[in-house]
């Protein structure tokens, strides 16, 4: 609340933005209020950042400013003039106080609530995966549970953020190659806009390939199936059976198959949310795969304790049955 106070005569009834009777000539206000500070790390220039600026205006002119953080574990502040530079330290909330001392008058203060969010670039996974020789098809029915991205609530980040949920087949015999399909929610570098999509993706010897189409609706469940024709190197992507909604051919995959199959939730920043919450989890059901030989799908065979997560304090992963698992975020934004 902007205003004026005297150390000996606090003014608890002062209105926001109005001087008090105790010190009618002293007034200070800082903007923006509240202040959001995005701490972006690991993304590189020009996206990495950890500071935001406050600007104070005090009257009468000619006074001095001082800045103070009420919680330096969340945010610190520096500045001797009218500009305060707030540095985010950790996710959370703190108050920043600016004190203005004009000539011949007692000091007055303004308090600015600050919220710090963090986008630290590191991939995390919640998944069930298994090594399977000669795997050439995988599928699952996945519930669509879109999740918040880091600093989305604060709106101050133009760094990349992503959560996606998918079925994946990889070949780990050399440089990692993979194909996958699922849904995701993404903020691209350079923008605060966030988009959802159904996607297919192939990494092989040709340049990386991705295709995005209309996103499935929140709360709906759909079968995602990816299937390789090793004779041609063509991947086919299916949504709820029928004909493939996308295909892509890459020379790497001709004559080859995968050696690992996964049903996965993925995020690209520590504070991106994983699909699902404790009250409405993201369900993978009917998890199956196919290998060389008869073109039949077999159950994933998820064992007790099979699903894993990068950090059990942040994300949940639990087996439901031999063909089903749930994933969720334990601390959603």
């Amino acid at each position: 609340m902007p205003g004026c106070s005297s150390p000996s005569q606090p003014s608890p009834t002062a209105d926001a933005g109005s001087p008090t009777a105790a010190c009618a000539s002293c007034y200070v206000s800082a903007t923006p209020k509240p202040l959001n500070v995005c701490v972006i790390s690991g993304h590189g220039a020009p996206y990495d950042q950890s500071t935001a600026t406050l600007t104070a205006t005090g009257t009468p002119a000619g006074g001095s400013y001082s800045w103070r953080s009420a919680n330096t574990a969340i945010a610190t502040v520096s500045g001797t003039g009218a500009t305060g530079t707030v540095t985010g330290v950790a996710k959370g909330s703190a108050n920043i106080e600016v004190t203005y001392t004009p000539p011949g008058c007692g000091p007055c203060t303004d308090t600015i609530p600050v919220k710090v969010c963090v986008c630290a670039r590191v991939n995390n996974y919640t998944s069930y995966g298994k090594n399977v020789a000669d795997v050439n098809g995988a599928k699952a029915k996945i519930k669509t549970r879109y999740a918040k991205l880091c600093c989305e609530n604060e709106g101050c980040s133009k760094s990349h953020a992503l959560h996606c949920t998918y079925v994946n087949i990889s070949n780990t015999s050399g440089a990692l190659k993979w194909a996958q399909s699922g849904y995701g929610r993404e903020r691209n570098y350079g923008s605060t806009a966030i988009a959802t999509d159904l996607y297919s993706e192939v990494q092989g010897d040709d340049p990386y390939y991705i295709r995005k189409e209309a996103a499935p609706a929140e709360g709906t469940a759909h079968e995602y199936k990816i299937q390789l024709d090793p004779a041609t190197g063509q991947w086919s992507f299916y949504l709820d059976g029928g004909v493939p909604w996308d295909t892509h051919t890459d020379p790497f995959w001709k004559g080859k198959r995968g050696d690992n199959v996964q049903w996965t939730g993925e995020i690209h920043n520590t504070d991106d949310d994983m699909s699902g919450t404790s009250g409405d989890k993201c369900n993978f059901t009917e998890c199956q795969y196919r290998v060389r030989g008869p073109l039949v799908y077999k159950d994933a065979g998820i064992p007790a304790g099979g699903p894993t997560t990068s950090d059990g304090s942040e994300w949940g992963a639990e087996r439901v049955s031999a063909t089903a698992l749930d994933i969720w975020d334990k601390n959603p934004n």
């Binding site: 991939n123 996974y125 990349h160 992503l162 996606c164 998918y166 994946n168 990889s170 440089a175 990692l176 190659k177 993979w178 996958q180 699922g182 995701g184 993404e186 691209n188 570098y189 350079g190 923008s191 806009a193 988009a195 999509d197 996607y199 993706e201 990494q203 040709d206 340049p207 990386y208 390939y209 991705i210 295709r211 995005k212 189409e213 209309a214 004909v243 996308d246 295909t247 892509h248 051919t249 993925e266 690209h268």
Partner: protein
């Protein structure tokens, strides 16, 4: 539209053409068996008619009143499936003055990252749009030249997509409005693309009936991220371009893909 002509570090027109020679005055168009002159379209006879036609198809006059037209012959093109039909054709090249992109659905006060000079190529016979593209004069080593027509065609065929021709009817959604669709519903922001290229073509995907679409390629984007455990290993030059395809009659976004791409 890769052209023979280059600007600093980037093709002048990714999807288009090259003017073999500017033709003075109104030269008679050479009839060609490859031409698809449309009965309901008028030939473009004058500079002012070319500019008017470019305005009507693109809406770029909403950005700048500065435009100049000259007659050319298309000497090369990297428009997949259709390069053979446009190369050798007399055409009009309409150059719009340097301007920032302004889109009506952008956030209030949002500013374009680049100053752009759009070039529009129109066939002289029938006035069909061959392409529209913006110029980028900076350096970006990760923004590679777009693929040749042959390479792009192979890539699209790999995904069962075909450009079957230039549409007979004008789009109901002009180019500038198509950019609004990309901005709000597509993949990649036009404001962040160093180069914007658009073609108005009949597109058939997976055997569906061909329909008129805007295929708008954004190049030189901040890189998007690959998914999966190997995401960070994918080179930037494979993740900084995106083609958004939308129905030119309804404005519905159909799909987005990074194909075709440099090989």
């Amino acid at each position: 539209m890769a052209m023979n002509e280059r600007t600093r570090g980037a093709p002048l027109l990714g999807i288009l053409i090259c003017a073999a020679a500017a033709l003075a005055g109104r030269a008679d168009a050479q009839a060609s068996g490859r031409e698809k002159k449309l009965p309901d379209k008028q030939d473009i006879a004058t500079e002012s008619a070319a500019i008017e036609r470019a305005n009507r198809l693109t809406g770029l006059n909403q950005l700048t009143a500065s435009a100049a037209a000259r007659r050319i012959v298309i000497s090369s093109s990297n428009l997949p499936f259709l390069a053979g039909e446009v190369v050798g054709q007399p055409a009009w090249q309409v150059d719009f003055g340097k301007t920032a992109l302004r889109l009506k659905l952008a956030l209030r006060g949002f500013q374009d990252s680049y100053q752009r000079e759009f070039r529009v190529i129109l066939l002289e016979r029938g006035g069909q749009l061959v392409g529209v593209s913006s110029r980028y004069e900076g350096e970006d080593p990760d923004m590679r030249e777009p693929p040749s027509a042959e390479s792009a065609q192979r890539q699209l065929q790999g995904g069962s997509e075909v450009y079957t021709g230039l549409p007979a009817d004008d789009p109901k959604i002009v180019f500038l409005d198509a950019l609004n669709v990309v901005l709000t519903k597509g993949s990649g922001s036009p404001f962040l693309a160093k180069v914007i290229e658009g073609v108005y073509v009949m597109d058939s995907s997976r055997g569906s009936p061909a329909r008129p679409v805007w295929a708008i390629t954004l190049r030189g984007l901040p890189p998007f991220s690959a998914h999966g455990p190997g995401a960070d290993s994918v080179p930037v030059w494979q993740r900084n371009h995106m083609r958004n395809v939308l129905d030119a009659m309804t404005g519905q976004l159909l799909f987005a893909t990074n194909t075709p791409q440099p090989i």
